[in-house]
Amino acid sequence: MQELGKIHQLIIPFFGHDLTFNLEVILMTWIVIFILIAFGILINLKKNILPGPFQVVGELLIKTFSDLAEESLGEELAKRYSPMICALFMFLLISNWLGILPHLEEPTKDLNTTLGLGLMGTFFIAHFEGIRVKGLKNYLKEYTEPFIPMIPLNIIGELANVVSISFRLFGNIMGGSIIILVVSFLVYSIALPPFLNIFFGLFVGTIQAFVFTMLTTVYISLKVR
C-alpha cells in the first residue's frame, strides 16, 4: 500500500526554478516507444502478398484508422493526419496495456503524458488546421458566435476540451491501477487480481485509447468545418 502515490523524481535547479523529471514515466514511455519500433520493424521484415501475422495486424490498424480519419476529416486532411492518428492509438494502447506486466507501469497514469498528448492533438493541431483551412478571419469570427459577449466562454470552452480529454484518460488508467493495487492488498493477491488486470488493463485500456484517438480526430474536424 505504501507505493501508492509515490513518484521517483529528479529535480534539477534551473535559473531559480526547479525542473522536475518523473524518471519512471520517462523510462516507461521509452519502453513503449521501443515496443512500437520493434513492431514496425517486424512488419517490414517480410512484406508479402500473403501477409504474415504481424503484417495482418499492421494492415488492420492502418486501414481502420485511415478510414476513420477520412470519414471525419475529409480526404485531403486524412492523408496528412491518419499516420498521426494511427500512431497515437498504438502508443496509447501499448501504454495502457503496459501496466499488466509486473514491475512496469502505464505512462498514461501520469497526468503529464496525457496532458501533453491532449495539447498536441486537441489544441495545437486542431487550431493550426482551423486557421490554415478557414483563414484567420473566419477562425476568429467563430469565437463571437452566437453573440459577442460569449467570447470569454468560448475561449474557456476550448481550454476545457483539452482538460477533459486528458483528465478522462488519466483518471481511468489511474483509477484502474489504484483499484488493482488496493483490491490485491485486501485479498492478499489471491484469485482476483488477474481478472481485474484483464478488465482494467486490457478492456478499459483499449476502450479509452480508442476514445482518446477518436475525440482528437473529432476535435480537429470540428475546427476545420
Binding site: 501508492l4 474557456i156 470552452g157 478522462r168 483499484i179 488496493v182 485486501l186 477518436m214
Partner: protein, 324 residues
C-alpha cells in the same frame, strides 16, 4: 462527553464507511432492477430464448454492480484500516472520502442498467445479433463506470494524501468540498452515459449491420457526456493540492466548500442532458446511417450548448477558489 482525537477519527471512519456503502447501494440496485424488468419483457416476447436472455441479464447486472463494489471496497477500507494521525483533518478526510464514493456510485449504477436492459430486449427481437449486442453492452456499460472510477480516485487520493502540517482551518472545507465535487459530479454523467449506451444496444438490435458507426458515435457521445464529471475531478484535485494560508475566518473556508458544492451540483444537469442528446443521436444513426455526419455534428454542438451550464459552474468554482 469529551472525546480525544483518536476516538473522533474512529467515529469518522465508521460514519464515512456507513455513508459510503449506504449511498453507494442506491444506484446499482435501481439499475439492476431495470435490467431485470426489461429481461422479463424480453422473455415474454420470445420465451424460447429465455436461457440466453437470462445470461445476458446476469452479465449486465454484474457490470452494473461494479460501482457498488467500488463503494464496498472504500467502505471496507474505512472500517478495517487503522487510521491514526495527529491532525484533526483526518476526521474530515474520512467522512469526505466516504461521501465522495457513495455519491459517485449512484449515477454509474443507474446508468449501467440501461444498456443491459436494452441488450436483453434486443436479444428477443434479433437473436442473430446476440454476440454483437453483448459486446456493445459490455463496452457501453464499462464506459458508464468512468465517473464512478473518478470518484474512487478522489476518495483514495484523499485517504492517502499527507495532510500533516496543513492548517486545519480552512483546509477542512477544501477536503469536504473535494469529496462533494467529484461525488455529486459523477451522478449526472453516469446516468447520461447509460442513456447513450442504451440506445446503442437498441440500435444494433434494430440494424445489426450498422454496428461500427453506432458503437463509434455511442462512445463519442458518452465521452462528451462525462466531461462535467471530469470538471468535478479537476476541482477536487485543485482543492486537495492547493495550499491555503491558515485563517480562523469562516469566509475563506466557506468559499472552498462552496466551490466543491457548486461544481458537484452543477455537473448533474449537463450530464443527464448531454446523455439525452447522445441517446437520440445514436438511436437515429442506427435507423439512418447515411445522415451520420450531420447527426454527429448536431449532437456535438447540442451537447456543447447543454454543457455550457456546467462550464458556468466550473468558472464560479474556480473564481471561488482563486479570487474570493
Amino acid at each position: 462527553m469529551d472525546f480525544d482525537l483518536q476516538s473522533w477519527i474512529t467515529i469518522a471512519a465508521f460514519a464515512g464507511g456507513g455513508l459510503c456503502m449506504g449511498l453507494g447501494a442506491i444506484g446499482a440496485a435501481i439499475g439492476e432492477g431495470f435490467t431485470a424488468s426489461q429481461a422479463s419483457t424480453a422473455i415474454s416476447r420470445n420465451p424460447s430464448l429465455s436461457g440466453d436472455i437470462l445470461k445476458s441479464m446476469l452479465m449486465g447486472q454484474a457490470i452494473a454492480e461494479s460501482a457498488s463494489i467500488f463503494a464496498l471496497v472504500v467502505a471496507m477500507l474505512l472500517l478495517f484500516s487503522n487510521f491514526s494521525a495527529d491532525t484533526w483533518l483526518m476526521v474530515y478526510v474520512l467522512i469526505s472520502s466516504g461521501l465522495c464514493m457513495g455519491f459517485g456510485a449512484i449515477g454509474a449504477g443507474v446508468g449501467a442498467g440501461f444498456p443491459a436492459g436494452a441488450a436483453c430486449k434486443g436479444l428477443a427481437h434479433q437473436p442473430a445479433a446476440g454476440s454483437r449486442l453483448t459486446t456493445n453492452m459490455l463496452i457501453g456499460s464499462a464506459v458508464c463506470q468512468t465517473p464512478a472510477i473518478f470518484a474512487l480516485v478522489t476518495a483514495f487520493i484523499l485517504l492517502f494524501t499527507d495532510f500533516t502540517g496543513r492548517p486545519v482551518s480552512p483546509t477542512w472545507a477544501a477536503i469536504i468540498g473535494a469529496g462533494l465535487a467529484s461525488g455529486l459530479g459523477a451522478i449526472g454523467a453516469g446516468i447520461g452515459s447509460g442513456l447513450a449506451a442504451e440506445s446503442g444496444c437498441e440500435g444494433i438490435a434494430r440494424q445489426p449491420e450498422a454496428v461500427s458507426p453506432v458503437t463509434n458515435v455511442m462512445l463519442l457521445g458518452q465521452a462528451v457526456t462525462q466531461t462535467t464529471a471530469i470538471y468535478g475531478l479537476l476541482v477536487s484535485f485543485i482543492l486537495i493540492f492547493k495550499i491555503v494560508p491558515a485563517t480562523e475566518a469562516l469566509a475563506p473556508a466557506m468559499a472552498l466548500l462552496g466551490a466543491g458544492i457548486c461544481m458537484g451540483l452543477g455537473a448533474i444537469g449537463p450530464g443527464i442532458g448531454e446523455g439525452l442528446t447522445a441517446r437520440d443521436a445514436v438511436r437515429w444513426i442506427a435507423r439512418k446511417e447515411k445522415a451520420i455526419a450531420d447527426i454527429t455534428r448536431v449532437m456535438l454542438v447540442g451537447q456543447a450548448v447543454s454543457e455550457s451550464t456546467g462550464i458556468y459552474a466550473l468558472v464560479v468554482a474556480l473564481v471561488l477558489i482563486f479570487v474570493v
